[in-house]
């Protein structure tokens, strides 16, 4: 069952004397009960606007929001049954940390013992037991962020919205908390949406990731799907570290299939067999395409593409080799060490089956084969 359903959401900010800003366009999204969803995108892509519309601090310009079968987009925030952790923490300054966390529970008139038990439990989870009696201004940014997170998670709500929930935390703590929060959410079947621009965090915490850019939902899928079958050029280049290599190629027909040529150095034969009829039809009408290949799929030391090494970094568990091929930059990632210095000529192997092919409008024509 869908817990949260966004239908045709539009958000336009209008201010006098300025061009209206179309922050979110025609957003459709359905989140299942117990699912954890990440809204991933660069700054200004509309992810926080989306979150705030669900919480009710921004009106929707068009569209509807349903939560647990209730149409909530016309309700005041107080009646939406949504909990939120804010990016700016937004703790109540005159209250102690403990009172901040207990606040909503007390408002809901839970028995005192129950409130205390829940506050202690959540405080242990995010490691803030020792500052429970401090005031917000006396604790660090990272601690405030954890209090804000605790204040949201301690509540009983249909949906938990977390805006950059771990942005201020140290890397070790972040990894630990990610795990704990994920198991807390899973254990209680809590539905959550969090905003992040950190891919690692999105992959680690979320069941599905919604990639947004320019106010448009680009793709909403699992991390594996996003990596293996990116819907368009944006998702392909945005997801994955280091980013996918992208090259311009011209399309010519060859016996039974197509030949994609990148300058004179690289040519790939895409056979009829590896191409469904729809993709073949599109390719036949497209003289120019962009092809993408993941750095992890480029083999170093074999193959017929000769590149001049620009840099070779050993990261402790993998090598990143950047090479120049007649002005085109290619990055390859291999698990072992590579004995190449900048300036050396090294062969790279790019196999046709690993190519993602994108049309001139950015939409994916063919995905790489899953190996």
């Amino acid at each position: 069952m869908d817990m949260l359903e966004l239908r045709g959401i539009d958000k336009v900010y209008r201010s006098r004397g300025k061009e209206p800003v179309h922050a979110v366009r025609a957003l459709d999204m359905a989140v299942e009960k117990g699912e954890i969803v990440a809204l991933l995108g660069s700054s200004g892509c509309g992810k926080t606007s989306t979150l705030r519309m669900i919480a009710g601090f921004e009106d929707v310009s068009a569209g509807s929001i349903a939560l647990g079968g209730r149409r909530i987009h016309e309700l005041p925030p107080a009646r939406r049954k949504v909990a939120m952790a804010f990016e700016g923490y937004s703790l109540y300054p005159p209250l102690t940390v403990r009172e901040n966390i207990a606040f909503a529970l007390k408002s809901a008139q839970l028995p005192r013992a129950e409130v205390a038990r829940r506050v202690d439990e959540i405080a242990r989870l995010v490691e803030i037991e020792d500052i429970l009696d401090s005031y917000p201004r006396a604790i660090s940014g990272g601690q405030q962020q954890r209090v804000s997170l605790a204040r949201a998670l301690v509540r009983d709500a249909d949906l938990y919205l977390l805006d950059e929930p771990m942005g201020q935390l140290e890397p070790q703590l972040r990894a630990v908390l990610r795990g704990r929060i994920k198991s807390l959410l899973a254990e209680r079947g809590m539905t959550a949406i969090f905003v992040t621009h950190d891919q690692t965090e999105a992959s680690a915490l979320a069941d599905r990731i919604a990639v947004m850019e320019g106010g448009i939902l680009q793709q909403f899928a699992s991390e594996k799907e996003l990596k293996g079958r990116p819907a368009n050029l944006f998702v392909a280049s945005f997801i994955g570290e280091p980013p996918m290599n992208l090259l311009d190629a011209s399309v010519t027909r060859s016996d039974g299939g197509f030949r994609l040529s990148v300058g004179t150095e690289m040519g790939f034969d895409i056979g009829g067999a590896g191409l469904d009829s729809e993709a073949a039809k599109v390719l036949a009408g497209t003289p120019q395409v962009r092809i993408g290949i993941r750095p992890q799929k480029i083999a170093v030391g074999t193959g017929d593409v000769r590149v001049k090494v620009v840099s070779n970094q050993w990261l402790g568990d993998q090598s990143h080799v950047a090479g120049d091929c007649n002005g085109r930059m290619l990055i390859a990632v291999t698990p072992g060490r590579v004995a190449a210095r900048p300036g050396d000529i090294v062969p790279f192997a790019l196999e046709p089956r690993h190519l993602h092919i994108f049309g001139s409008n950015g939409a994916c024509i063919r995905h790489a084969e899953v190996s």
Binding site: P76, S90, L91, A104, S107
Partner: protein, 285 residues
């Protein structure tokens, strides 16, 4: 700043003393004058040492002004009472109207919002005399002339812009997300305003209220034109001391001491808020 050197410390002490004398002298002199008779005051050269008399205060409190030309009735205590009533009522009304307005200007962008806020501020630009003539004509038509309500209303020209702009700066300092968090926890917009925004802006509201109280208290010209004797505050009432038989310096001084005391005490008590409120408002406003 660190002033560790001896010369620096001495210089600072001397400079502070000079400034203090410069600003405090008139007040001290008035205070001394209020315990002297007119003859003692007008003596040349003036003397610091004199035999104090409470005659001035007695005259003010009893309402009997004895001059060379005979006894005069003055209503100083009535004026003082009027000042308290008018200023308090004006500030109270301005707070009731101004604080929600300041919140609206800080939180919501609406059509003509900035223009309205600026128009309210512009009431402070024009000299009061400019608006007084039309205002007194209107007041006669409306029957507001010589009423407490009429004067309290016109005092809004002084108090409302001040409160609006100072408190607005305070509200803008508070992250709206604090109120959002409160509203998500099951509270209405109104509760977020009264339980979160207003308490957090408390020092600013107190400072703005105090300042506008002082400005209202010191106002002269509005009440001079729009009110008759029994509604006039001390500032206007002091005119009664300019009599046919000369100016009653002693009583004027005593009247000043009495009329300054309430605001001075209030300001001393709330000094901390006042400075904080003004500086924050100035930076963020």
């Amino acid at each position: 700043m660190e002033h560790s050197s001896l010369a620096g410390r001495i210089f600072r002490g001397v400079a502070l003393t000079l400034i203090l004398i410069f600003f405090m002298f008139p007040i001290v002199w008035i205070f001394l004058m209020s315990f002297q008779t007119n003859e003692q005051i007008l003596r040349i050269p003036p003397r610091i040492l004199f035999e104090p008399t409470f005659a001035n205060y007695e005259a003010l409190i009893s309402g009997q002004l004895r001059t060379a030309a005979g006894n005069l009735q003055i209503s100083f205590m009535r004026n003082l009472f009027n000042s308290v009533v008018l200023s308090s009522a004006a500030v109270l009304l301005a707070l009731l109207l101004g604080v929600p307005a300041a919140y609206a200007f800080a939180r919501f962008k609406f059509r003509l919002g900035e223009s309205i806020a600026f128009t309210l501020l512009s009431f402070r630009f024009a000299p009061p005399l400019l608006v007084l003539l039309p205002l007194s004509l209107y007041y006669q038509e409306l029957g507001l002339n010589d009423t407490y309500f009429g004067i309290v209303w016109v005092y809004q020209l002084i108090a409302l812009p001040l409160i609006l702009w100072i408190v607005r700066g305070y509200f803008e300092d508070i992250s709206p997300d604090i109120e959002h968090a409160y509203r998500l926890a099951g509270h209405s917009w109104r509760e977020a305003f009264t339980r979160i925004a207003v308490p957090l802006a408390g020092p600013g509201i107190a400072a703005a209220g105090l300042l506008s109280f002082i400005f209202c208290w010191n106002n002269f010209v509005f009440a001079l034109i729009l009110a008759s004797a029994d509604k006039q505050p001390v500032t206007v009432g002091a005119l009664a001391f300019v009599t046919a038989s000369g100016i009653q310096y002693g009583q004027i001084a005593a009247a000043i001491v009495l009329s300054v005391t309430p605001t001075l005490l209030l300001a001393l008590y709330a000094q901390r808020y006042l400075v904080e409120g003004l500086s924050l408002g100035a930076v963020k406003g």
